[in-house]
Amino acid sequence: MTIAFNRFSHALALAASLLSATALAGGAHAQDEGLVVYNAQHESLGREWIDAFTKETGIKVTMRQGSDMQFANQIVQEGDASPADIFLTENSPAMALVDGAGLFAPVEKETLDQVPEQYRPADGMWTGIAARTTVFAYDKTKLSEDKLPKSLLNLADPAWKGRWGAAPAGADFQAIVAALLQLKGEDATKAWLKGLKDNATPYKGNSVAMKAVNAGEVEGAVIYHYYWFGDQAKTGENSKNVGLHYFKNQDPGAFVSVSGGGVLKSTQHMKEAQAFLKFVTGKAGQAILKDGTSYEYAIGKDAPSNDKLTPLADLNAPKVEASTLDSKKVVELMTAAGLI
C-alpha cells in the first residue's frame, strides 16, 4: 500500500518538476526576444527578411506568424500592451485598421523616401513593403484566350455559375473586395458578392484554389499572381495546366494589393524597429523579393522585381487609395452575403 502511495507521490513530484522546468524555459525565453514581429506575410518571406536583417545588424528578432485581419484586430485588442514592435501584412486593409486605431508610430523619413508615393499612405504612418496583383488563374486545357472574362464583374453573371473558385475567407480576397468597394460602391459590391455566393466554389486559401483549377475542378480562380510563379519554380505539379489572365484596363480585377509594414507606437525598441522597416524597404530587403522564392513585386525606388514577372508598369492597375480600404465594411458585407 505505502509503496503504491510512494509511487504516486513520485509521479506527482516528477510532474511538479517538469512543470517548473517548463515555466523556467518559458521565463528564460521571455527575457530575450529582441524585436517582435507580427508577421502576416508568408512565413518564408518574413523569415528571409528577418534572417538577413539579423545577419546585417546583429539584432535578434522573434517572429509570430498569423494572418492579416487576425493580427490587426489582435493588435487593437492588445492596445498599448502589445508585445509586437513591428507589423507586416500581405495587404493594406489590415494596416488601415491599425492606423485607424492610432497605434502606429510615424515611419522615419529616410524609410519613406525609399518608397514611391503610390505605394504608401499619405499620412506616413506605415509604408508599402511589397506588392501583388490580382489575376484570374485559368485551366489552359478548358479555356482559350477569347473565352476569358473581360472584367472581374463578369464573373457574377449566370454564365459563370459553378465554373470558378476563390478563397473568400482569406485576407487576400477580402482586399480585392475592399478595392471593388472603393472603386464601384456598396450596391455594386453587394450584387457582385451575391454572384460570388451563387457562382463560385469557396476554397481555403489561394494555393488550394489554384490546385483545384489545375485538377480540373473549376475552370478558373481569382487569386494573386505569385502562387503560380512559386509553384512553377518548385515542382509545377499544382500549376502545370494553369495559365494567368491579367484583367488590366484599370478593372477592379487588375487591383494591385500593397503589403504593408509599420512600427507600433508602444514599442520599447523604437530605434531598432525603425531600422528594420528601413532595411525591408531598402536595397537589401527589396533584393530578397527579386531573388528569393516569394515572387512578390518589389516596390522600392529603383528596385527591380524578378524578371519572370509581368512588370508592374504594364498591369494597368486601377487607382486605389490603400489607406482607406475598409476591411470592416467588407467583412460585414461578406457575412451578410453568407460567405463567411
Binding site: L19, T22, A30, M69, V76, Q77, A171, K204
Partner: protein, 526 residues
C-alpha cells in the same frame, strides 16, 4: 449541497458502484472538482458576456441566418452518420481481436490503435493527395471514421477483455444462440465503454478544424476560424461559438441519458476465468480481411504519402527548426497531459462513486469545455489575459491552461472507466481497517486506476501533440510546435518541407500509442 449524511435520507442500497452517503472524502473532492469546473466555465462566461455586450438585435442577426442553418445541417449529418459507423466498426474489430481465434490477434489489435499516432489533419491530407477531388460530407464521414474509430476501439476492447465469461455461459445455457448471446449478454455490458468513446468522437467532430479544412467540409469550427481570421474575436465568431456550445451541451445530455449507472464490477469471490476465443473456422478469411483493409486505409495511405514527401525532399528538409519544434512539442504535451489528468481526477472519482444532480452539473462543465474548438477557448483566454492579467498574456502558463481545458474529457474517460472497475467494497474494507477515506481512495482506488490515469496522460499528450488552433493563438512568441509548423507549411503548399514535421508528429505519437496499448493489456491482467 455537500452531503453530511446525517440528515440525508438513507438511499435504497442497490447493487451499484456508488458509495453510501456518510463518512466519505466527499466535501474536499467536491470542492476540488468545483474549482476545476469553475475554471472550465470561463469560455462560456466569456461568450455570455459578449452576447450581453453586443445586444439581442445583433445576436439575432448573427445566429438566425442561413449560414448557421447550413452549418447546423452539416454538423447533424456528420455526427449521425459517423458515430454509428464508428461503433459498428470498433465493436466488430474489438470482438475479432479479443474474442476469436483470428491469427495474429495481437498484431491486428496493435494496428487497430496505430491510426491514433497519425494526426487527423495528416490523415485528411494523405487522402486529398491521393484523391484530389475528395470533399464534402461523404469524405468528411470517411476520414473522421478512419481517424477517430480507435477512440472507441480502445475502451471497447479493454471492456471485452475484462468481461466475466460466466455471464455469457449462463446466457448460452439458457438456450440463446451465439449471436443472441452477444447482443443480449455482451453488448449491454459494453455500454459504458461505447458511450464514453462515442462521446469523445462526437466532441472531436465538433471541434476538429484541420481535417475538415483539407477536404472542404464546413463545420462550426472551420466557420469560426474563418470569421476569426477576418475579424479576430468579433461578435460573429463568438456567436458561432455560442451555437457550438449549445450543440455540445446537447450531446452531453444525450450521453448521460444513454449511459445509465449500472454496476460493472464483479460481485462475489473468485476472479473471472479468461474468456474462450470463438473458433472462426472457414470464416477466418473474411474476418482477416477487415483489419487488413482497415490497416491499409488508416496507415498505408498516410505513410505512403509521407514517404513520398520525404523522398522528394531528401536531406535538406531536415532543418534545425524541426528539432526545436520537436522539443517544444514534447515539453508541452507531457506537462499538459499530467496537469489535465490531475485536474480530471476529482471529477472522475465523483462521477463514479457519488453521482448526484450537482455532480452531473460539475461533470457537464468538465465535458463541455473540451468540446469547444481551440479557437473559442483561446479567444476567451487571449481577451482575459490581455485585459486582466497581462503578465500571463502569451505565456506557457496560459497555453497549458488552454490544453487542460481542451483535453479534460480525454483525461476523464480513461480515469472514469478504470475507477468504475475498481470495486467500491475494497475502499470500504480499507476504511473498515482504519484508513481515513482519503487514504483509502489514494491507496486502493488510485492504485487500481493507475493504468487508467496513464491512459489519460497518454491520450491528452496525444491530443496536445496534434492541437492546432489554440496553439497558434496562444503560443509564446517565437514558439512553434510540430503541428503549427506543419500547418503553416501545408497552407503554402510546401508539402515537401512540411513532411518532416508530420513524420516527427507520428514518431512522437507512437510511444504514446504504445503506452495506451500496454496499459489496456495490463488492465486485462496479462
Amino acid at each position: 449541497m455537500l452531503a453530511s449524511g446525517n440528515d440525508a435520507p438513507a438511499a435504497p442500497r442497490t447493487m451499484r458502484m456508488v458509495l453510501p452517503r456518510g463518512r466519505m472524502p466527499h466535501a474536499s473532492v467536491v470542492l476540488l472538482a468545483t474549482v476545476v469546473a469553475t475554471f472550465s466555465l470561463v469560455p462560456l462566461g466569456f461568450i455570455g458576456w459578449v452576447t450581453y455586450d453586443v445586444g439581442w438585435e445583433t445576436v439575432k442577426a448573427l445566429v438566425f441566418r442561413p449560414r448557421v442553418g447550413d452549418l447546423l445541417v452539416n454538423t447533424v449529418l456528420l455526427e449521425s452518420i459517423t458515430i454509428p459507423l464508428s461503433i459498428a466498426l470498433a465493436v466488430t474489430l474489438a470482438w475479432l481481436t479479443e474474442r476469436t481465434d483470428i491469427p495474429f490477434a495481437q498484431f491486428w489489435a496493435w494496428l487497430a490503435i496505430a491510426p491514433l499516432a497519425v494526426p487527423a489533419f495528416v490523415h485528411s491530407y494523405a487522402w486529398v493527395s491521393l484523391i484530389p477531388g475528395m470533399r464534402g460530407l461523404e469524405s468528411g464521414v470517411f476520414v473522421s471514421v478512419i481517424a477517430y474509430y480507435p477512440f472507441l476501439y480502445l475502451p471497447v476492447a479493454a471492456a471485452l477483455r475484462r468481461l466475466d465469461p460466466a455471464i455469457e455461459d449462463a446466457a448460452a445455457s439458457l438456450g440463446l444462440n451465439p449471436w443472441r448471446v452477444f447482443f443480449r449478454a455482451v453488448l449491454p455490458q459494453l455500454r459504458f465503454a461505447i458511450c464514453g468513446g462515442s462521446l469523445l468522437i462526437a466532441l472531436h467532430l465538433l471541434s476538429e478544424y484541420g481535417l475538415f479544412v483539407m477536404i472542404r467540409f464546413d463545420t462550426f469550427a472551420t466557420a469560426i476560424v474563418d470569421q476569426f481570421q477576418s475579424s479576430y474575436n468579433s461578435p460573429a465568431s463568438n456567436m458561432l461559438g455560442g451555437v457550438l456550445v449549445a450543440c455540445c451541451l446537447f450531446l452531453l445530455g444525450l450521453e448521460i441519458l444513454l449511459r445509465g449507472n449500472e454496476r460493472y464490477a464483479r460481485v462475489g469471490s473468485g476472479s473471472p476465468r479468461p474468456a474462450d476465443r470463438r473458433r472462426l473456422g472457414w470464416f477466418v478469411l473474411p474476418a482477416i480481411l477487415l483489419p487488413a483493409v482497415l490497416a491499409v486505409l488508416t496507415l498505408g495511405v498516410p505513410l505512403m504519402t509521407l514517404g513520398r514527401w520525404l523522398y522528394l525532399g531528401g536531406s535538406e528538409i531536415w532543418r534545425i527548426e524541426v528539432g526545436s519544434a520537436f522539443v517544444q512539442t514534447i515539453v508541452l504535451a507531457v506537462a499538459g497531459g499530467v496537469l489535465a489528468t490531475i485536474a480530471a481526477a476529482p471529477m472522475a472519482w465523483l462521477s463514479v462513486r457519488a453521482p448526484g444532480r450537482f455532480q452531473r452539473v460539475l461533470e457537464a462543465c468538465h465535458y463541455y469545455v473540451g468540446s469547444l474548438p481551440g479557437v473559442v477557448v483561446a479567444l476567451a483566454l487571449v481577451t482575459i489575459t490581455v485585459r486582466l492579467v497581462l503578465p500571463l498574456y502569451q505565456t506557457f502558463a496560459t497555453l497549458l491552461v488552454a490544453y487542460v481545458m481542451l483535453f479534460l474529457p480525454r483525461a476523464m474517460v480513461g480515469l472514469r472507466a478504470s475507477i468504475a472497475q475498481a470495486p467500491v467494497e475494497l475502499e470500504r474494507a480499507a476504511m473498515g481497517l482504519g484508513r481515513t477515506p482519503g487514504q483509502a481512495v489514494r491507496q486502493i482506488t488510485m492504485r487500481l486506476a493507475a493504468p487508467g490515469a496513464a491512459a489519460s496522460v497518454a491520450l491528452t499528450a496525444l491530443g496536445i501533440t496534434n492541437e492546432l488552433t489554440a496553439t497558434l493563438m496562444l503560443s509564446p512568441n517565437g514558439i512553434d510546435t510540430l503541428a503549427t509548423k506543419f500547418w503553416s507549411l501545408t497552407s503554402e503548399i510546401d508539402y515537401v518541407s512540411a513532411a518532416p514535421y508530420a513524420f516527427m508528429m507520428v514518431v512522437l505519437s507512437l510511444p504514446l500509442t504504445l503506452t495506451l496499448y500496454a496499459q489496456s493489456k495490463r488492465t486485462a491482467g496479462q
